[in-house]
């Protein structure tokens, strides 16, 4: 059993998804999916501890030794991201039932959980695999189920958003496929570790250059890095709220992981970041994403859309850290990856609760919600403070490391822009907090409250899930050892010229 551990987190949801298809009753399907996510989470905790203890775990699929067979390879980098993704999946599913019953047509709820589990399996597969082509297949598994989930939104614009996402996503993944094809032509191997060892031997060529270029552009499309982000706000706004909470906290993180894996493990850092001018490119685009994403978020009337644009900005932080090309920068990125999952998960779950009770996430409809739904609003505020980077919250830790990393490499202006991005996020978070607690004089705030909504607070399980993430934001703000140490170890491992 233990020797099979590296593949189990992928296998369990992948096999559970068709089994879930047999369950027709929404409640049973939800219980089943939540149980599966919890089991997967327990498995990744096991895996995480094993990796922390013994170092890299390698698993030969079907007993075919790598580099011929497909290898699953878990080091501290993907162990960390695996932990984040499964934890978020389990927590989000815990609170999903009420909101999904409200937002998804009754006859499709069972199918929704099937898509959710498939998406989870795809994301975990991307993380666990050490084979470039296998990564492509899992990328498509997660993408296709994501399109289906986005299209389940109530608004008809969800369909158009899902279609646009499908077109952009397919182009992105096909670009990655082209890049992997070039790598295979150069080296005759698909195993990432083997690729890393063989690539320096084949000499610099345009093929190697275009392979990397195709992969980076493809991943940046999936990542929604600034000029390629157009699919993201629509997809996040019109998807069912629970789906948004899950996607915002996991799928872009996985794309960041793919970027890190290809830039630092497959292509060495001397080639990917230093030799090409990618450093300046990633930094510029990342900083632009921070500024533009935050500015758009400030002017959005719909808070769900505003937080979606804030995701575009936060992706900027992650990419800036990678673009620094130093161990400290990568460490900061990975810490932020961990923390951002916590805060975005909490923010979108709070919005799920608002939408559940008020039927809207427009800023003006949230008037006085701080008194109607005090627990939800408090959790939203905590997550918002974390997003801003208040000391004592998780967001502060990652911003601190990012600013330090930027100063260490002598780039003061990057540090300044990162701080400025935080100031901008105060504006769009404060807008919500202000109207929630202090509904001002403008236009009869009381009349906008939906009088038909019954209970005062969100469903208990949703609140529970929300507060787990909100408390996570506080806990990892005060005791940041877990993400900081693991990210440090992962960054050091990945940055070493030769993988162990």
């Amino acid at each position: 059993m233990l020797s099979q551990l590296p593949i189990l987190p992928v296998l369990v949801p992948l096999l559970a998804a068709p089994a879930c298809l047999l369950i027709r009753r929404p409640r049973s399907a939800w219980l089943f999916a939540t149980a599966v996510a919890a089991v997967t989470f327990a498995l990744t905790v096991q895996l995480f501890l094993r990796v922390a203890e013994d170092g890299v775990l390698s698993y030969a699929l079907g007993g075919w030794p790598p580099p011929w067979g497909i290898e699953y390879r878990i080091d501290s980098l993907n162990a960390l991201v695996l932990l984040v993704v499964t934890a978020i999946a389990a927590v989000v599913l815990l609170g999903a039932h009420g909101s999904i019953c409200r937002e998804v047509p009754a006859d499709r709820i069972g199918l929704f959980y099937v898509a959710f589990l498939l998406c989870l399996a795809g994301l975990l597969g991307i993380l666990a695999t050490g084979d470039a082509f296998n990564l492509f297949v899992f990328l498509e598994i997660s993408s296709l189920s994501t399109y289906a989930m986005v299209a389940l939104g109530r608004d008809r614009r969800a369909l158009v958003s899902a279609f646009n996402y499908l077109v952009m996503g397919t182009i992105g993944v096909t670009f990655i496929l082209i890049g992997i094809g070039f790598l295979y032509m150069l080296t005759g191997t698909l195993n990432m570790l083997d690729l890393a060892q063989r690539l320096p031997g084949v000499g610099r060529s345009y093929t190697e250059f275009s392979a990397y270029a195709f992969i980076v552009v493809g991943v940046c499309l999936k990542l929604a890095l600034f000029p390629l982000h157009f699919w993201l706000p629509g997809a996040y706004t019109y998807a069912p709220s629970i789906v948004t909470a899950f996607l915002a906290a996991t799928s872009t993180k996985v794309a960041v992981y793919v970027l890190v894996r290809f830039s630092f493990t497959v292509f060495r850092v001397e080639f990917s970041i230093m030799a090409l001018s990618l450093q300046s490119l990633l930094m510029t685009l990342g900083l632009l994403a921070i500024v533009v994403g935050s500015l758009v978020a400030i002017y959005e009337a719909d808070i769900k859309r505003a937080i979606a644009y804030s995701s575009v900005a936060q992706i900027g932080y992650l990419v800036v850290g990678i673009g620094l090309g130093t161990v400290a920068g990568l460490q900061a990125s990975l810490i932020h990856l961990f923390n951002h999952a916590l805060m975005k998960g909490a923010l979108f779950l709070a919005l799920t609760a608002f939408i559940y009770r008020l039927g809207s996430s427009r800023v003006k409809h949230l008037a006085n919600v701080g008194h109607r739904m005090p627990l939800t609003t408090a959790a939203f505020t905590i997550a918002g403070l974390s997003l801003i980077g208040m000391p004592g919250t998780a967001g502060f830790v990652s911003k601190w490391y990012l600013v330090m990393a930027a100063i260490d490499s002598g780039q003061w202006w990057v540090a300044a822009l990162v701080v400025m991005g935080s100031l901008l996020s105060i504006v769009y978070i404060w807008r919500v907090v202000e109207i929630a607690y202090f509904p001002t004089l403008e236009g009869g705030a009381g009349s906008t409250i939906d009088a038909t909504a019954s209970g005062p607070e969100a469903p208990r399980l949703l609140l529970c899930a929300l507060w787990i993430l909100a408390l996570g934001n506080l806990y990892f703000g005060l005791f940041a050892d877990l993400p900081v140490d693991t990210a440090g170890r992962a960054a050091a491992t990945v940055m070493e010229a030769d993988m162990p």
Partner: protein, 117 residues
């Protein structure tokens, strides 16, 4: 003659650009999907062409043959074709739903109707 020896790769480039152009320029959602298909198919041809070994035979073990084509890219593309079919079917299913919701599959028309309400 040098250029013609890479005939397959020229076809790949032409198809890829054609497909990409259709995806970008066509407002009709079904045609967009067809463009996407052409784009993906060009990548399939790229892979398959790379597996060809000049003078090589089909990879079936036989005493008389010493040179074989590389079967691995073909197998990989078999997977990619399946993925492509899945993508197309999800895309077409979405187009059907969009048509039911908007009464049109034209991107400009859909945008206009959304702006109206």
């Amino acid at each position: 003659m040098e250029a013609l020896s890479h005939f397959n790769y020229w076809v790949v480039i032409v198809l890829m650009m054609l497909g990409f152009f259709i995806v970008i320029a066509q407002p009709n959602l079904v045609k967009k999907l067809i463009g996407l298909n052409i784009f993906q198919t060009s990548v399939f041809i790229l892979y398959i062409s790379s597996g060809k070994v000049i003078g090589g035979s089909a990879p079936i073990l036989s005493e008389a043959i010493t040179v074989y084509s590389n079967p691995l890219p073909h197998v990989l593309i078999l997977t990619a074709i399946v993925v492509g079919i899945a993508t197309t079917s999800v895309g077409l299913a979405l187009v059907i739903r969009i048509h039911a919701a908007y009464g049109s599959v034209d991107e400009n028309e859909i945008l206009r109707r959304d702006r109206e309400c």
